[in-house]
Subunit: 292 residues, 2 copies
Amino acid sequence: MTRIDYFTEENSIEIVNGRMGKETAPRLQEVMASLVKHLHGFVKDVELTQEEWEAAIEFLTHTGQICDDKRQEFILLSDTLGVSMLVDAIQHRRPPGATENTVFGPFHVDGAPVLEMGANISLDGKGETCLYEGRVLDLDGNPVEGVRIDVWSDNSEGFYDVQQPGEQPTWNNRGVFITGSDGRYWFTGIKPVPYPIPDDGPVGQMLTLLGRHPWRPAHMHFMLNHSRYERIVTHTFVSEDPYLTSDAVFGVKDSLIIDYLPCSEEGVMWKASFDFLIVEKATKRDTERTNT
Amino acid sequence: MTRIDYFTEENSIEIVNGRMGKETAPRLQEVMASLVKHLHGFVKDVELTQEEWEAAIEFLTHTGQICDDKRQEFILLSDTLGVSMLVDAIQHRRPPGATENTVFGPFHVDGAPVLEMGANISLDGKGETCLYEGRVLDLDGNPVEGVRIDVWSDNSEGFYDVQQPGEQPTWNNRGVFITGSDGRYWFTGIKPVPYPIPDDGPVGQMLTLLGRHPWRPAHMHFMLNHSRYERIVTHTFVSEDPYLTSDAVFGVKDSLIIDYLPCSEEGVMWKASFDFLIVEKATKRDTERTNT
């Protein structure tokens, strides 16, 4: 008679993973085996109690049920546990010097108007005006033409236009700019302000229990697209922001913090300069090949 | 100037856990630190892609949203990943010889009628009749009086009464029996049949992708309560069941499998004998003290 191994505390990982069928897609097998290993490892390490397990089930259920077409609490949970930034970091390992990515965030909208360089994207007339300017360069320092730069930020009260439909002008603090042969970009917006992530749901309760606040430091969003270069999704951060070291979603990177300097142009208070260094798709593939 | 460490792929666990406030409850700190360690460990081990992360967010959201007052898909997810059994195993480490626990399951109902020993709990007249009998003993082999034994099973079509209100008689295949001074119990029910867990939701989709079936082997539920003894929540399983080695929720333990033998009593087809060995609350505490 063959000895049969039933589930025990000791063999739990092997038993659950051993149940996967041979026809299971190899990548799914790899992902699930690691998930079960770490999930059981967590339960064993802390000797999770029945009551804690019930609280976890309730938390996850509530997190799912508060989601709707406007709210995604599981993404918020991923963000606040650092998982979103970790996945982004793993996906976007770049050569030294290249502009780093950060979280995409939930507030991008497709279809913002393509504007002339120099245009003002702040349509509500609120906030401290700021000139954003810089260049898009390749890793050899050559300007890149034809890069499509999507920009978006909150208004001076900490809300994106899509959070206040009817209250803010459509496309307030949004625009698309396309670089010319000099690789330069420049436009006027506002100096952004910090804002809290939605904290009236389960994730907010979690942050409170962990002694954490829900604030994100002020930032301007940028997305750079070009057929020959890797997409960049990033922010630039305001250097004196009080939440830089405690961003609720861990989005800050040293290389993305910039000084907002007083601006000499008439009617503009601040100037924020930032050069983007972008990576050719082929170049990146070469880098990966070298690394493996 | 103090050097500030921002989030990176390398330091992600330390950065996220370092964010917890000093006032955080010590047990919550312990649980969250381990959760973040294992969650990030999983993402790093498999280098989870953006697309896989999106699929995970969608899966978790769907799992939460299909829950209602009748359906708990997150418990089902926990069951099918072996987490429920693992938590149960950690909570109910018992001395050798003591009856083992298994999952409680979603079909227990409080308030079932207290019946005379020998009563028939199968009220729909369907299925193969079976005499359940045995003793409740302490670890020294002495009979235990006054043990409240809750029993429940599916009917011959694989459904519990609460799954078919109006179709099955109320309290069909349920009852409560209280042991006398001899510690004996006996009642008539049916030989239970295998049934599938609900597989029309995200968990069912997951099982399909993993090449797993949703079936549970046939089992009779028992819950034993007595003020001086540790509660036992368990099943007994039918020895020739085809799903014993592939229970969708990993509930089977060797010591809980019993042979259903032909019964010589008139009108009863099978006999299922099982003695419960229960642990005094004080005894269990002593054991734990010895182990630590």
